[in-house]
């Protein structure tokens, strides 16, 4: 039996829109073993007090699967799905469940500073003893030296530790150590109404505040069988595409700037500022923080909003071709971007990499297309797809997506449905999954409501699967190219530190 068949054979418990299969321990183990030869994509792994949950994608179908924790442990998935390792470490740190047979048992989010262990378990224990210094994977070979960087970095950037092992100028191994931004978000969300907890979803990763808010709201709406009014869906689409354009402009600028081409960056950031100002006029907030709420959106778009947004888009469009050509024709820039930080299509597939990172390495996934969600179903979204997998491909995918988002925004603004922009969620005790395609890629939220309040939740930022791929993509590159490769991935630190 394939892993998917094993999952489908297990009994289900209600979860909307996909029932969750609850596997007996043996079946979970059999599924874990079957993953060795099976292409089933692992999207997320998380837990609650009594179960561990996994989210898989089988072609066009989404499969949630769970198993009960027995004796404080569950069979690990990491031996056959390296992407599971970070999740397993996080589950151990937050809920205290061990991944039996896991490939990596080092702490991840828990740096020994919380004064307690397993804060999300039913009975968190007091932490004993002082924090251990982190352990890094060893590297063998001649003339290897280590370069420790962070958690405080040289730029205006989130904190994290990068441990390079280098041979001369060449990176032999990069290990990323995160967790510094752990704010206890999941514990804060528990016991709150979806409306109150949305403020935390909006602050998981500020650059994706709209996309995370949409995915979270959709999970709450799925659980309560609520469908927001058509105008709310359309406005969410407007906000999400603005967020995508603004971030892609920022990222394209950051990439060329790290390749010492600030002239181009000046133009990208100028357009970014214009977009953010138009957004402030349309929604009263430059980043649209808290603009999306469960049940719809917090406020309607202002009358001056659409023309302001369209004007900013027209300015980008007028210059887009020239900026793209300038990047392509400047040999000093091309030299830095092409064949730098290459991610193979095979590895991208194995990690189920979505978003820009995946689409620049031959992975066509885009949640706006499949499974799809409103308002995109009628818009015929055409995601960019390249196969090179290098910094240049990630730059060009972003450039192409800016153009596509301009098209989508015009279509959305030209046909905004009339009517209310939100409805109230009924009280419910149910489970739901929500998803949204953020500028980084596929965002998934799962939650369980008990009497209308959040009993458990888990948000999966795309960066969970991108960071380990960054470690791989930078191997064999020179240390000096790391910032460039890192910018082209632009993983969220806060989004995975929770």
């Amino acid at each position: 039996m394939t892993a998917a068949e094993i999952i489908r054979a297990a009994p289900t418990t209600p979860c909307h829109p996909w029932p969750r299969h609850v596997l007996p321990g043996q079946s979970w183990q059999a599924m874990a073993d079957a993953l060795a030869a099976d292409p089933l994509a692992l999207l997320a792994l998380w837990a609650d007090a009594g179960h561990v949950h996994a989210l898989f994608r089988d072609g066009a179908d989404i499969l949630p699967a769970s198993t009960a924790i027995v004796g404080g442990a569950y069979p690990a998935l990491s031996p056959h799905r390296p992407a599971a390792a970070w999740f397993e470490r996080a589950i151990r740190d937050l809920w205290g469940h061990q991944a039996a047979g896991g490939t990596d048992s080092r702490p991840w989010l828990d740096h020994g500073k919380w004064g307690q262990t397993a804060p999300l378990s039913t009975r968190p224990a007091a932490a004993s003893g002082a924090a251990e210094p982190p352990e890094f994977l060893p590297v063998e070979g001649e003339d290897i030296h280590q370069i420790p960087v962070g958690p405080v970095h040289a730029g205006i950037i989130e904190p994290g530790h990068f441990r390079f092992h280098a041979q001369g100028e060449t990176v032999v191994r990069l290990e990323v150590r995160l967790g510094y931004l752990h704010k206890g978000t999941l514990a804060l969300m528990r016991g709150k109404s979806p409306r109150a907890a949305a403020r935390f979803a909006a602050r998981l990763s500020g650059d994706s505040t709209v996309a995370h808010s949409i995915a979270f709201a959709r999970a709450a709406e799925a659980a309560t069988a609520t469908d927001p009014p058509p105008r709310a869906h359309a406005l969410r689409g407007v906000m999400a595409e603005i967020e995508r354009i603004a971030n892609h402009l920022g990222d394209c600028g950051a990439i060329v700037n790290d390749a010492a081409f600030p002239m181009l960056q000046a133009r990208f950031t100028w357009h970014r500022e214009a977009v953010l100002r138009a957004t402030a006029r349309a929604f009263g907030n430059r980043l649209m923080m808290d603009a999306v709420i469960p049940g719809g959106v917090a406020a309607d778009i202002t009358a001056e909003g659409p023309p302001a947004i369209l004007a900013a888009l027209a300015a980008i469009e007028a210059e887009h071709g020239e900026l793209a050509r300038l990047a392509e024709d400047t040999s000093s820039l091309v030299d830095r971007l092409v064949s730098t930080g290459t991610l193979s299509a095979a590895l991208a597939a194995r990690f189920a990499a979505g978003g820009v990172v995946g689409r620049a390495a031959g992975q066509p996934g885009d949640l706006r297309v499949a499974p799809g969600y409103p308002p995109y179903r009628t818009l015929d979204v055409r995601p960019a797809l390249l196969t090179e997998g290098d910094v240049d491909a990630r730059f060009r995918v972003r450039m192409a997506e800016i153009t596509e988002s301009i098209r989508l925004l015009r279509a959305l603004l030209a046909s905004l449905p009339d009517g209310p922009v939100s409805i109230t969620l009924p009280m419910a005790s149910a489970e739901g999954i929500g998803w949204a395609e953020g500028f980084r890629g596929d965002i998934w939220h799962w939650l369980r409501l008990d009497g209308g309040l959040i009993a458990a939740a888990f948000p999966r930022d795309p960066s969970w699967l991108h960071w380990p791929l960054l470690e791989s993509a930078v191997r064999g590159n020179i240390v000096a190219d790391f910032p460039l490769v890192n910018k082209s991935f632009n993983g969220s630190y806060s989004g995975v530190d929770l």
């Binding site: 740096h111 405080v152 752990h182 704010k183 602050r203 998981l204 650059d207 402030a280 923080m289």
Partner: protein, 173 residues
């Protein structure tokens, strides 16, 4: 192609927006504070080191915009530096997570006196929405003394600029 652009840009003039006067009330209050502390003056140029102590990265996005051509921070004598050892100002964002507390203390310790600490964003002021979490110690002042706060979630680049320019003003008096 590059040369065409440069020629066009030169003809078109700068994109940077003119700035009004710095916020007089804040500058005055800060100058008083300097005076009361008999702190050595730093002159009219300040080097800034940004420290994310637990932010959601929203504050960083807006701080980044200060370096854009629209705001051009450097014309006010303000610039971002890569090391706390070169800094006069620490610009701190986010609630202070327990895992960043030490790093913030050490960054503060590595910054030479006299120095200013600016808490940027609602989280940095008192922990913001993350108040009461097991994983944070509070706002910036739960780790290091704060001289100036800039509200917002996140504060706009204009609000950031106002706050930072009052610092320069206070220093110049």
């Amino acid at each position: 192609m590059v040369w065409n652009r440069i020629a066009r840009t030169l003809r078109a003039g700068p994109l940077t927006e003119p700035a009004g006067a710095a916020d007089e009330a804040t500058a005055h209050a800060l100058a008083e504070r300097l005076h009361a502390a008999s702190q050595a003056r730093l002159g009219r140029s300040l080097a800034i080191r940004q420290v994310d102590a637990g932010s959601c990265n929203g504050c960083e996005l807006e701080i980044h915009m200060l370096n854009s051509v629209v705001y051009d921070l450097e014309r006010f004598g303000l610039h971002f530096v890569a090391s706390p050892r070169h800094a006069d100002v620490l610009l701190v964002t986010g609630p202070v997570t327990k895992s960043m507390h030490d790093a913030l203390l050490r960054t503060h310790g590595a910054t030479p006196d006299p120095k200013w600490v600016v808490a940027v964003g609602d989280c940095a002021i008192d922990g913001g929405v993350f108040k009461g979490s097991y994983a944070i110690t509070g706002g910036t002042d739960s780790a290091v003394p704060v001289d100036l706060t800039i509200r917002g979630c996140p504060p706009s680049p204009a609000a950031l600029l106002d706050g930072l320019r009052s610092l320069v003003e206070a220093n110049g008096r």
